[in-house]
């Protein structure tokens, strides 16, 4: 299994940086692709591979400036996967960053994270 997953970001897709040794998965930037499946399916398959090992530990760091609805769906899919692993005993944490000016984003994030059992923090950047 590869230790690192790195996907370069652009105007439309976020930068994805996953380090298996530190257990940090960072998704940052804008996510407004027409087909979010193409962007996020490597992340999901990577996570599934990652969780095959015992005693896994992951911190999901989200720094999303703008996110469209199909990407939101994919983030939810990731969160559902993390929650499943959390219930199985993995150490999971979510850190979701938002910009100070975007208060509606903060409300949306806390509302969404409130639905999951995973420990999470909402931070300003």
């Amino acid at each position: 299994m590869i230790d690192k997953l790195y996907l370069k970001g652009s105007e439309e897709v976020p930068e994805i940086n996953f380090n298996a040794t530190t257990g940090k998965l960072e998704i940052s930037g804008r996510s407004i692709p027409e087909n979010a499946n193409i962007v996020f399916s490597p992340v999901l398959s990577w996570l599934n591979l990652f969780f095959e090992k015992p005693n896994t530990e992951i911190t999901l760091v989200l720094k999303l400036e703008y996110i469209n609805s199909s990407s939101t769906k994919k983030i939810i899919e990731i969160l559902l996967l993390l929650e499943k692993q959390f219930e199985k005993g993995s150490k999971i944490k979510v850190e979701w960053f938002y910009k100070t000016i975007d208060l509606s984003m903060e409300k949306k994030i806390s509302e969404l994270l409130g639905l999951f059992k995973i420990p999470s923090e909402i931070k300003v950047y």
């Binding site: 609805s69 769906k73 899919e77 559902l80 969404l112 639905l115």
Partner: protein, 380 residues
């Protein structure tokens, strides 16, 4: 030329006979006029007639090139053209044979590919017609399941619906149901557009009829909750895992009490008062169907408004604000849209419709439409 040899190419028998006679005739003329005058060009005529038939076999093409070269050889020989050595005569004939063979193969390949393109085009046109015919008919079905706009118009005479599908069929739909002095309205945006969007929209309409009319549910939040339950149930019976769903805004309004209740899955409602102050209505995080609503317990909230005369309500799907355009190729955006509504909410319904349509067209320019568009404007 095409008119002349056109009919000849149709029938392989006449085609062959004609070319043969022509070749012999050319040989005789060439022999008669002597070797000093170059006659080569005319030998290409029977060759063209042969090569232009796209059913011609390769070996016949070679035989024909050989025949014509032989014709030329005989004419040259009997015209008394003398060469310093016999090898030169053979060399000249061979070089002509190669020129002829290249010619017939090139012409034949060209004709074949042109005919194939023609065939593909005809096939494409036929398929295109088939698809557009069935899409047009599907539009009829979609339109016939949506409740009559007449009742809605009677309830709100000063209203308009701006609807512009990305393709012919739309994934957006507007639904309404009136009873006495009460109206329930729903504006929905189904995942995707075109055929998949339209299929989902028909499901949405049927479920709305069930929940609002049969079960007589009035509370918008409760309507959304029920719709989600119905849709998730419906999709979990199949084998395929479907995470598709719809965004929806449900409005309930009672004319007697002037109370309006709104619940929605995404920001898609703005209310203007008589003075031009506007309120955007909050939305919930859940959609109808979709991955989150399938795995978590949904919760929708009602928002209450007192609607006085002169107030205007706008319901919209994200197609209008998500349209890419202008020179910078950026999205139209909510702020521009709010300002646009602010400037036109006092105008008549038909004027508003025209301005919205023109403004969209102007912004879009030559770019493709991003998504299905629906904007409903209601002057209460």
């Amino acid at each position: 030329m095409k008119v002349l040899i056109g009919p000849l190419t149709k029938n392989i028998f006449f085609n062959t006979i004609f070319s043969l006679i022509l070749a012999i005739l050319l040989g005789i003329i060439d022999w008669y006029t002597g070797y000093e005058i170059s006659f080569q060009f005319f030998y290409f005529i029977p060759l063209s007639i042969i090569a232009i038939n796209d059913k011609q076999k390769k070996r016949y093409l070679i035989i024909w090139a050989f025949l014509i070269a032989l014709c030329w050889f005989l004419a040259d020989y009997y015209a008394g053209h003398s060469y310093s050595s016999t090898q030169l005569r053979i060399w000249n004939t061979a070089s002509r044979f190669i020129v002829f063979i290249s010619f017939v193969f090139l012409v034949n390949a060209n004709v074949k590919s042109r005919n194939r393109i023609k065939l593909i085009n005809t096939d494409l046109l036929r398929k295109d017609k088939l698809i557009s015919d069935s899409v047009a008919y599907a539009t009829n079905i979609q339109n016939s399941v949506i409740p009559d706009y007449k009742r809605f118009k009677e309830f709100f005479p000063k209203s308009f619906i701006f609807s512009k599908p990305k393709d012919v069929l739309s994934g957006d739909f507007f639904w309404s149901y009136t009873k006495d002095n009460k109206i329930t309205m729903a504006l929905a945006d189904c995942t995707g557009h075109g055929i998949p969007g339209a299929l989902l929209s028909v499901v949405g309409i049927i479920l709305l009829n069930k929940v609002v009319i049969e079960k007589s549910i009035e509370s918008p939040a409760e309507i959304l909750t029920e719709l989600n339950k119905e849709l998730v149930d419906l999709f979990s019976t199949g084998n395929e895992l479907i995470d598709d769903g719809m965004e929806m805004c449900v409005v309930f309004y009672d004319k007697n009490t002037e109370e309006m209740t709104i619940a929605q899955t995404t920001e898609g409602a703005i209310i203007f008062d008589d003075l031009g102050n506007f309120t955007t209505v909050n939305s919930d995080i859940f959609t109808i169907g979709g991955i989150l609503s399938k795995h978590k317990k949904v919760r929708f909230s009602n928002h209450q408004f007192k609607i006085k005369k002169g107030a205007t309500l706008y319901l919209f799907t994200d197609g209008y604000i998500d349209q890419f355009g202008s020179t910078a190729n950026i999205k139209y955006g909510i702020t521009k849209f709010e300002n646009e509504l602010k400037s036109l909410h006092k105008l008549t319904a038909s004027e508003q419709l025209e301005i919205l349509s023109n403004q969209h067209q102007q912004w879009k320019g030559n770019l493709n439409q991003t998504d299905d568009i629906t904007v409903v404007g209601i002057n209460v």
